[in-house]
């Protein structure tokens, strides 16, 4: 597998993870992302699936949180500010 193919496969994997996590949401919640607007669960799934700018922002938010959680940064921050 080439480096490019690896990158595509990794991105697809991340997208699938993010979609699975959004799917778990109840449908009465909406996310307001500044001037981009307000998005229902179904709209978020569409945006992430399409790889739009909004979809990428949602992916970035989720991945940043997962990194903070797994690296211990979140726990450290809670302890410092708690």
């Amino acid at each position: 597998m080439t480096e490019e193919e690896n990158k595509i496969k990794k991105e697809e994997g991340i997208k699938e993870l993010v979609l699975a996590r959004i799917n778990f949401m109840p449908s009465n919640y909406k996310l307001s992302i500044g001037s981009e607007g307000t998005f229902t669960k179904d709209e978020l799934i569409q945006q992430v699936s399409a790889g739009s700018e909004i979809g990428n922002q949602v992916i970035t938010m989720q991945m940043n949180f997962i990194r903070a959680l797994t690296s211990g940064k979140l726990l450290k921050t809670i302890n410092q500010n708690g």
Partner: protein, 212 residues
């Protein structure tokens, strides 16, 4: 001075939460100028800024890397427009991304301070209450900590302390959500992601010891 346009779901919530700050200002006997809804336009805001020279400015609405908007997306301040009117001032912009470039330019070469976001300022709302922001307890988890900044600034605290108090409330809310998550509250992890996004993105730029 407060700007709070109200023309979509997002600005509806920001406007409501800004109104809570105005109520607090009344209690503290602080004289303020409010630019709600359509009054949040460049002409009226700039006229007031030139005439009255307010020290503390609370901007609510949409924004981007280079600018801050008023009613229906009109650019009120940008790196090329009206930025000089904010020289030496204390500004909190509850808007997306403006800390990245606008905030840095605003405080460059002067004693002003900009508090804003490097990330998109985001929040979850419960669509069962979206017509009445005051009844939406989910949105409160994200918007109350941002109100804390202005609440502390109004009481004479400097931006560094006000930012810290706001972040302390974010952490308290993260802890509350973690408890909900343990009780299998559906969606709680998504809330954490967004609160963490606001926590990490919120920055004080410039003179962090300036006070009102």
């Amino acid at each position: 001075m407060v700007t709070r346009p109200k023309y979509d779901d997002g600005t509806e919530y920001l406007s409501y939460y800004a109104s809570l700050i105005l109520k607090e200002a009344n209690k503290l006997n602080i004289i303020y100028k409010d630019f709600p809804g359509k009054q949040a336009n460049s002409r009226e805001i700039c006229k007031y800024l030139k005439k009255k020279n307010p020290k503390l400015i609370f901007i609510n609405g949409h924004g981007n890397v280079d600018s801050l908007e008023g009613d229906k997306g009109e650019i009120i301040f940008s790196v090329d427009k009206n930025i000089g009117l904010l020289k030496n001032k204390l500004v909190y912009a509850r808007a997306c991304h403006a800390a990245i470039n606008f905030g840095k330019k605003m405080v460059y070469g002067n004693e002003g301070c900009f508090i804003g976001y490097f990330t998109p300022f985001s929040f979850w709302m419960d669509s069962r209450h979206s017509a009445i922001p005051s009844k939406d307890n989910l949105a409160k988890l994200f918007l109350e900590p941002s109100n804390e900044i202005v609440s502390f600034l109004m009481k004479g605290n400097n931006p560094k302390i006000s930012d810290k108090k706001s972040k302390k409330m974010m952490i308290d809310n993260i802890k509350k959500i973690l408890v909900m998550e343990e009780k299998k509250e559906p969606g709680a992890t998504r809330w954490l992601e967004v609160l963490w996004n606001n926590f990490e993105g919120q920055k004080v730029i410039g003179n962090e010891y300036l006070s009102f």
